[in-house]
Each structure stands twice: as structure tokens, then as C-alpha cells.
């Protein structure tokens, strides 16, 4: 069994054991078992990056077995420079989520932890699948645990949010399923993604495929105007669910653009790039403004996630290395930063049970350590140099300038809006006088929370100060991808 298989199935196995043995009166043993599972699952992914050969764009650590003979579906796994960091990020965030739910989740603990571990394995599967159908199976299967997580441990409108999340995403991915089967037919009976990359296709077919993939991935990213499920899901989900949604699940969509849309339908991608760019800019500017007026902290961060993901898709569809690498760096750093932002909201919510900005004020007086961390992450969220948030946005803007100055100028306004909504929220929540007793009675971070915040802060800082390990790993794969996308796949062209 290869390293990737272990990374996928180890957390799933731990999750299954938790679901099978979990009992309400043994919550503590469930917590420890989950932590052991999550940490082990993270440790087994580390060799993926230490043993990664940055000199090749080929899939590494690959495993290739026949899975379903009838349709020539293969259990084919592998990672390249584009996906390998996301495998680690997924496993890492799962550890964070398990620790974050330690004392907060008191009901059905084993099921909660089990669902997250299974979800983690499935998401690693999405990032490492090299077979179209295998990808789809993992991609869809992630919906089940997330649906349950939002529905059981969520807020008051959790049922509505869970349904909306599930049905929106399913609607998009069913169209992708049709596209996958269409490619299977066109390629003469293969679900191998790499062979699809080489498949010549006429323009109408490429356009149809492009929009089918767009349906699936734009919902997942989410892009304007199909983003409305995200604020609902984020607001209602428990803290851990929000963290995983923002840090990883959104990335599945953006990753899909790189893995499917661009290389399989390069001509259509170039033809309709203006469309994606337009939607991305709307997300960046309009959603930025929407974030400004939110009263609910989680909603604000949710909208800010959409705006940040707009940067990612913008970077991808300007088709140069700075843009694409910038998008990828942005995805990783957003994983850390948005995860931390949701954790910070969770810290406050656990104490006061309110997410309304207006309930707070002057938190810095009672929770100085926490306020410092929160300030750091807020700054990272608006792209302060020295944090991970800056590197990605800067690279995307530079990449966009190469394509068109005016596009870059519009995109750059996002930095202003980002600063505005992030800092304004910070000001209203943390600064000022203590206005009510609840804030007065707040206790500062405990050791567990402090540890979580510190780890995420170090990661964010590391990405901001020394992003080279990340970009080095991506470099060859991204140039290879762009070379491929630049070539026409039209028949006879």
C-alpha cells in the first residue's frame, strides 16, 4: 500500500472505528482516539513533501490498480506540484479541527470526530485522484459527512443550510458527471485524466465540457452568482465545519479548474477566460462591498472568503505563471488564515454565544493575548506584507498586470475593501470601551486555544516571509500546465 493510500484510508479507518465504537459516556476516549488518528494521518503525509522531486511535473507516489473492469476505471493516485501541498494542508487542518472541538463539542463526540476524520480522508482522495471517476467518487462523497456535520452540530437554521449546501453542490457535480462520461466515451473508454489532457476535441465539445466543469467547480469555489450557499453554510456550521469548509472544501473547486477545465478544454478556457475573469472581479469587488455591511462575524468572513477565492480564479485564468502560482499560494495561505479567522470567531462564540458584531466591543481589555492573535490574522486577511495573505495576492496582481493593467487595477481595489471590512470589524469587536457584562467577564485563551492560534500564526508568517518552499514545489508543474494550455487541442489545429 502506497503512501497516498495510507493518507486516504488511515483517517477513514479511524473515523469508522470512532463511529462504530463511540458511546456517549466515553466521550474522552473518543477525543483521544480522534487526536491520535488525526496526528498519525498528518505524520504519514509529511514524507510526501520531504520526498517530493521538484524537478518533474509527472505524478509522484503514484499507485495504479484496476478498480472497475467493466468501465476501465482505475484506482490511480498520484500527486504533482499542484496538489501535494493540499494533501498536507488537509491533514493538518484536520488536526486543528479535532483540537478545536475538544471541549466545545459535548454531544455525540465520537460521531463528530469520526465525521471529520472520514471527511479528511475523502478530501485527500480528491487531491490525489488521477482517475476521473475516482475523483468524482471522492468529490461527491465529501458531501455526506459535511451535510451531517452542518445538520447535527450546526446553529438554529442548520437544516436549511445543510440542504442548501448539499443540493447546490450536487446540482453542479451531476453535470460534471455527464461531462466525465462524455470524455470517457470520446477517449475510447478511459477515465484516465492524463489521457484526457491529450485528447483532441472540437470547439463545441470543449465549450460544453468547459461549462459542465464550470457548473461543478464554480459552485464549489464558490463564484458569484452561485455563492449564496456559502454564507448560510458557514454561519450555521459548527466552528470545525466552517474551518474545513473555508480552508479546504472551497479549494476542491479551484483545484478542479486546474486539473480539469484548463488542460482538458484549453481552447474553450482561453475563449471564455473573459467570462471567468469577469465573475472573479465581481466576486472581488462586489462581494467585498457586501462583506463591509455584514452584522454577523461569520458571515463577514464567509463573504471575505468568496472575495479571496475570486482572486484565485482570476489568477488562474490570466494564464501566466505568476497568476497561477499566485492563485495556488493564495489557496494555501487562505487555508491557514480563514481557518484561523473562524477559530477566532469560535473562541468568542464559545464564551458569549453570539456572532453579532454589535454584542462585542472592547474585547482587547479582557482578552489581550487573544486580541493580539486576532489582529495578526485580520491583517493577514487583508494582505499585510509579511503574512501569507500578501504573497498570493501580490503574485496574482502582478500576473494580472501582465495580462491587462486595468484588470489588475480593479483587482487591486480588493485590497482596499479587504482592509476596510477586516479592520472595521476588528475595531468594532476588539477596540473601544467594554460595553457590557458579557465582555467584561471574558477569560483569555486557555492553553489549547493558545496552541492552536500559535501554530496557525507561525504557518501564516512562514508563508509570508519565506514562500519559496511552496513556489518551488509548484514551479515545474505550473509551467508544464501552462505550456499545455497554450497549445490548441482543436482537431487538425
Amino acid at each position: 500500500m502506497g503512501l497516498l493510500s495510507v493518507s486516504i484510508w488511515l483517517p477513514i479507518a479511524f473515523g469508522a472505528v470512532l463511529l462504530a465504537t463511540g458511546r456517549e459516556d466515553k466521550a474522552d476516549s473518543a477525543r483521544w482516539l480522534a487526536l491520535v488518528g488525526a496526528v498519525l494521518s498528518f505524520i504519514v503525509t509529511i514524507p510526501l513533501i520531504t520526498g517530493f522531486d521538484t524537478g518533474t511535473a509527472a505524478l509522484q507516489f503514484s499507485e495504479n490498480l484496476l478498480w472497475i473492469e467493466r468501465f476501465n476505471v482505475r484506482y490511480h493516485l498520484g500527486v504533482d506540484g499542484i496538489s501535494v501541498w493540499f494533501v498536507l494542508l488537509t491533514a493538518f487542518i484536520t488536526v486543528v479541527v479535532v483540537v478545536a472541538g475538544w471541549e466545545v463539542i459535548t454531544e455525540r463526540v465520537a460521531q463528530y470526530m469520526g465525521a471529520f476524520l472520514i471527511l479528511s480522508g475523502l478530501m485527500v482522495g480528491v487531491f490525489s485522484a488521477a482517475d476521473g471517476l475516482l475523483f468524482y467518487v471522492f468529490f461527491e462523497a465529501t458531501l455526506i459527512p459535511m451535510y451531517i456535520i452542518i445538520g447535527i452540530w450546526g446553529g438554529p437554521r442548520r437544516v436549511y443550510a445543510a440542504f442548501k449546501f448539499f443540493l447546490y453542490t450536487l446540482a453542479g457535480s451531476l453535470l460534471m458527471l455527464v461531462a466525465l462520461i462524455f470524455l470517457y466515451y470520446k477517449s475510447g473508454g478511459s477515465f484516465d485524466i492524463a489521457s484526457w489532457h491529450k485528447l483532441p476535441l472540437p470547439m463545441p465539445a470543449q465549450a460544453l465540457l468547459f461549462f459542465a466543469f464550470f457548473a461543478a467547480f464554480s459552485v464549489k469555489v464558490p463564484m458569484w452568482p452561485v455563492h449564496t450557499w456559502l454564507p448560510d453554510a458557514h454561519v450555521e456550521a459548527p466552528t470545525g465545519g466552517s474551518v474545513v469548509l473555508a480552508a479546504i472544501m472551497l479549494k476542491l473547486g479551484a483545484y478542479g479548474f486546474l486539473r480539469f477545465s484548463m488542460p482538458i478544454a484549453p481552447d474553450a478556457s482561453r475563449e471564455y477566460a473573459w467570462f471567468i475573469i469577469a465573475l472573479s472581479l465581481i466576486a472581488v469587488v462586489y462581494i467585498g462591498l457586501v462583506a463591509l455591511v455584514q452584522q454577523d462575524m461569520k458571515k463577514l468572513v464567509a463573504y471575505s472568503s468568496i472575495a479571496h477565492m475570486g482572486f484565485v480564479t482570476l489568477g488562474f485564468f490570466v494564464f501566466n505563471e505568476l497568476g497561477v502560482s499566485g492563485g495556488l499560494v493564495q489557496m494555501i495561505s487562505h487555508g491557514f488564515v480563514s481557518g484561523a479567522m473562524f477559530l477566532a470567531i469560535g473562541v468568542l462564540y464559545d464564551r458569549v454565544h453570539s456572532r453579532e458584531i454589535a454584542t462585542y466591543g472592547g474585547v482587547v481589555n479582557t482578552m489581550p493575548k487573544f486580541a493580539a492573535f486576532a489582529l495578526f490574522f485580520t491583517m493577514a486577511n487583508c494582505g499585510l506584507p509579511g503574512t501569507g495573505g500578501f504573497v498570493g495576492e501580490w503574485m496574482v496582481i502582478l500576473g494580472t498586470v501582465q495580462a491587462s493593467f486595468w484588470l489588475a487595477a480593479i483587482a487591486a481595489t480588493a485590497l482596499i475593501f479587504g482592509a476596510a471590512y477586516s479592520l472595521w470589524m476588528y475595531k468594532r469587536v476588539y477596540f473601544g470601551d467594554v460595553t457590557n457584562d458579557e465582555v467584561r467577564g471574558l477569560t483569555d485563551l486557555n492553553a489549547r486555544e493558545f496552541g492552536l492560534m500559535a501554530v496557525l500564526a507561525i504557518a501564516t508568517l512562514w508563508m509570508g516571509v519565506y514562500p519559496k518552499p511552496f513556489t518551488d514545489v509548484m514551479h515545474v508543474s505550473v509551467t508544464e500546465l501552462l505550456k499545455h494550455v497554450a497549445m490548441s487541442k482543436l482537431v487538425g489545429g
Binding site: 455525540r108 451531517i148 447535527i152 440542504f163
Partner: protein, 495 residues
């Protein structure tokens, strides 16, 4: 003249013999729980299943009873699945009917006759034998629906089923007689050959096909011949609902293949068009009507209608612009769909019966409220079934839908591509009501009336767990089952 070749009908002969034996033995059984009858029935069924499996594995095609019956891998595979389905059905049903004073010897012998009819249909090679099998099955089922004699709803369901069923049998028979009139033969191979000559009166054939398709559509329960399905599913005792919703679907598929594919493939252009209409309208009406239901059994009835509609889509893609190259692919996808659907249905109704023990019914969707807390294992198993029916991977239902969509898309005809898109969009509607069941089980608080009710354990719960595991395991490794279906269909088409 073809020889008798008794070997071909050994499984059916054994089944008939044992059905009579069970009816007789039961007269001397004094045990209240009818254990001797139960075990005798199960043992005979296991023997029958083993025989079908052995015949299937030999892979040979033989004709018997002077050409009236055929022994081929497809028939035996379907009969094997049907027998296993009935074995599981009886195991699920026994505690349920025992607690409702319906546990009489008749239940067992009638159920065996139902299976006999199904087996006869699976290996029929003659129009009259098809009809004979259909009537053996249907008449036994009518009686079983009315097993609760003093129960108004059951009796009403039985009447409705009987009257409409008789009408459908009439349709089928009328259509078959037209075919007979036009082709001068009742034997399926000869009809096929006669149509192939192209010298048959096309009008009579077309009329015949219309009636045959209508009759089959009734048995499959697809729109617009679906009116009986919700009432019968709801009205019949759940044990009998399971019997109706399980093995007979396999039989209906078998005679659809026997009559339309093996007999009338030459008329595929005509019946495929009808199938498209039946399939799409079933998907629309089944999925939309299921949303509005509050009764679980009724909801599952509408879900069945839509699932059968989805299966029929596979039947439409066999002959493309006069070319039968994709036939094996299309029909084996449909067969895989039916088999996986039956596995899932078994579990779903088995679970409803399990919850309904001790004299309570558990038929309303709200009765499942809070099951995730009351009985996490059962809720987990039900979740697997629901996601499978909704077609979410990694459950087996996904691969069934994948196979059908694949059959549609690989025809490379724009019309079929549109059909595939329509089908996935309608299955999105379907996902909603399956998700609602999961929601009720996990997100809602238990009803006060149900909160204290313990859920009993026992052998049935182990069987349920196996059934749930099957849905997941066939989902992780669907290759073997797919290959079996494909193999069976290819051999059936080759003869």
C-alpha cells in the same frame, strides 16, 4: 420436435414440490411462531438458489419442455437474485407478521408460489409461458396483499391491485395474441426470426408492441401505469410490500428482456420511443410526487416509480439508428440497476418492519425522528440506503446510475445526451426527499411517543447490518456484480 429435457426445469420443479409440501406440513405444525414451516421454506429456497447459481455458473444455454423454457445465464442469474431476495424477505417478514397474527402457513406457501412465477418468467421462451409465470406470481400476490382480512386499507389495496393487474394482464395477452397472429408463432426465437424477415404486416406488429409495452409498464409500475403502486405499497402489510417491491421487479425486467429484446428487437425503434416517454414521465412524476408524501411507504412507492423510470432509460439505448452494437452495454446497465435497486429496497423495507415490531407501525416519516439518537446503528444503515437511492457515491446506487448514463452517452447521439442531462437533473430533485429522511433521523428530536421505545435486537438486526454493508461494499467494489450482469446479458443476446 424439441426434447423435453427435464434438466432445464429442475429448480422450478423443486420449488413447486416444496411449495406444496410446505402447505401440507404446516397443517401439522402447532408451534405458534411456525418455526418448522419457516425453516423448511428457507431450506428449500436455499436449495433452489444453489441450483440456479450452479446453472448460471455452468454458463450453458439449453432449451427444454419442447422449447417452451430456456436455461441461460441471464435467466438463472435473475432467478438466483430473486430467490435470495425472497429468502431475505421472509427473514425480515417473519417477526413482523408474527406480531400481527398474520403468521399462517399460507404466507409461506403463497410466497413460494410468487417465486415460482418469477422463476418461470425468468426462463420463459414462449409467450404463453411468460403469461403463465406472470399469473402465478400475480394471483399469489393479490392473495398476500389481502392477508390482513379484517383491515380496510389492505383489502382496498388488494382489490385495486387485482382489478388493475387483471387489466394489465389483459393488455399483455392482447398484445401477445396480435404478435401471434402476425408471426404465427408463440415461441420467442421464432417470433424474432419472423420479424427479421421483414415480411410481416407492420401495423399489426406495432399495435401488438403497444399493448405489450403497456402491460410491461404496468408490472414495472411506471407512469402512466403507476396508479396502483402508491396505494398498494401503502395498503399492503409491510412484509408484502417488500415482497412486491423486491423480487417481482427482477421478474418484470426478465420478461421485458425476453419479450422486447429477445423477441422483438426488430421493432426496437417503436418500443424504444415509448420507453423514452415512460421513463421521463416516471422520473418527473415519481420524483415530484415523492416530495409531497408524509407516509414513508408511500414516498418509497413514488421513489420506486422514478427508479424504474431511470432503469428504463437504459432499455432505450440498446438500438441506435438500427445498430445493435450498444445493446449489451445498455441492457446490462439496466440489469445492474434493477439488481442494485432490489438490494437497497430490501434493506429499506426490512428496516421499516424492524422498527415496526411489537404491534406499532412505523410508517410515517416522522416516526423516524431522532433515530440517530435512539438507535445509531439503524440510522446509519438507513442513511446508507438513502444515499444509495439518491445515487451518491460511494454507495452502489451511484454506479447503477453511472452505468445507465454511460449507456446513454456512449450512443453519441445528441438526443440521448439531452436525455442524460434531464435524468441527472431529475435525480437532483430525488436527492431532496432522500436527504429529508436523513434529516429527520439525525437533525430532528425524537417524538415524545417514540422516545422511550426500545429497539429490539436479534437476528434481523444482524441481517440488516449485512444488507447495509452490501450497499457499501458493492459501492466500493462494484466490478464483480457489473461483470456478472454484463456476461449474462451478452450470452442472452448471443442466442
Amino acid at each position: 420436435m424439441n426434447p423435453m429435457n427435464w434438466l432445464v426445469v429442475y429448480p422450478e420443479a423443486l420449488l413447486l414440490l416444496m411449495a406444496c409440501a410446505v402447505a401440507l406440513v404446516d397443517l401439522y405444525v402447532t408451534d405458534e411462531r411456525r418455526r418448522p414451516t419457516f425453516w423448511l421454506t428457507q431450506a428449500s429456497l436455499v436449495a433452489v438458489a444453489a441450483m440456479h447459481l450452479a446453472y448460471y455458473q455452468s454458463g450453458a444455454t439449453a432449451y427444454g419442455m419442447q422449447g417452451m423454457m430456456v436455461s441461460d445465464p441471464m435467466g438463472h442469474l435473475l432467478a438466483f437474485f430473486a430467490t435470495v431476495t425472497v429468502i431475505i424477505t421472509i427473514a425480515y417478514a417473519q417477526p413482523y407478521i408474527a406480531s400481527r397474527e398474520m403468521l399462517k402457513g399460507e404466507f409461506f406457501s403463497l410466497t413460494m408460489f410468487v417465486l415460482l412465477g418469477i422463476c418461470v418468467m425468468c426462463s420463459a421462451n414462449n409467450f404463453l409461458v411468460v403469461y403463465l409465470g406472470l399469473e402465478i406470481m400475480s394471483l399469489s400476490l393479490y392473495a398476500l396483499v389481502a392477508l390482513r382480512r379484517d383491515h380496510g386499507v389492505s383489502t382496498e389495496a388488494a382489490m385495486k391491485y387485482f382489478v388493475l393487474g387483471a387489466l394489465a394482464s389483459g393488455f399483455l395477452l392482447y398484445g401477445l395474441s396480435m404478435m401471434y397472429g402476425a408471426t404465427k408463432s408463440l415461441e420467442i426465437n421464432e417470433v424474432f426470426a419472423a420479424i427479421g424477415t421483414g415480411r410481416i404486416n407492420g401495423t399489426v406488429l406495432t399495435f401488438g408492441v403497444v399493448f405489450v409495452v403497456a402491460g410491461l409498464a404496468f408490472k414495472l409500475g411506471v407512469v402512466p401505469f403507476h396508479m396502483w403502486v402508491p396505494d398498494v405499497y401503502q395498503g399492503a402489510p409491510t412484509a408484502v410490500t417488500l415482497l412486491i417491491g423486491g423480487a417481482p421487479k427482477l421478474a418484470a425486467f426478465a420478461i421485458t428482456v425476453r419479450l422486447l429484446v429477445e423477441g422483438m428487437l426488430g421493432l426496437a425503434v417503436d418500443w424504444q420511443q415509448m420507453m423514452v416517454v415512460l421513463a421521463v414521465s416516471s422520473l418527473v412524476i415519481g420524483n415530484l410526487a415523492a416530495i409531497a408524501q408524509t407516509n414513508l411507504k408511500r414516498m418509497l412507492a413514488y421513489s420506486t416509480i422514478s427508479q424504474m423510470g431511470f432503469m428504463l432509460l437504459g432499455m432505450t439505448a440498446g438500438v441506435v439508428s438500427g445498430n445493435t452494437l450498444s445493446a449489451g452495454n445498455a441492457y446490462s446497465s439496466a440489469m445492474f440497476y434493477v439488481v442494485t435497486y432490489v438490494i437497497t429496497t430490501l434493506g429499506t423495507f426490512g428496516l421499516i418492519m424492524f422498527l415496526a415490531r411489537g404491534g406499532f407501525e412505523s410508517e410515517e416519516i416522522n416516526d423516524l425522528a431522532g433515530l440517530g439518537k435512539r438507535a445509531p446503528w439503524l440510522a446509519g444503515i438507513m442513511t446508507l440506503f438513502m444515499f444509495s437511492l439518491a445515487g451518491v457515491p460511494p454507495m452502489v446506487g451511484f454506479y447503477a446510475k453511472l452505468a445507465i448514463l454511460q449507456a446513454l452517452i456512449t450512443t453519441n447521439v445528441t438526443g440521448y445526451l439531452v436525455l442524460a442531462v434531464v435524468a441527472v437533473l431529475l435525480s437532483l430533485v430525488g436527492a431532496f426527499y432522500y436527504l429529508r429522511i436523513v434529516k429527520v433521523m439525525y437533525f430532528d428530536e425524537p417524538l415524545a411517543a417514540n422516545a422511550g421505545r426500545p429497539v429490539q435486537g436479534g437476528g434481523v438486526s444482524a441481517l440488516l447490518a449485512v444488507n447495509g454493508a452490501a450497499v457499501l461494499v458493492f459501492g466500493l467494489l462494484p466490478g464483480g456484480l457489473m461483470a456478472m450482469c454484463r456476461d449474462a446479458i451478452l450470452r442472452a443476446l448471443a442466442t
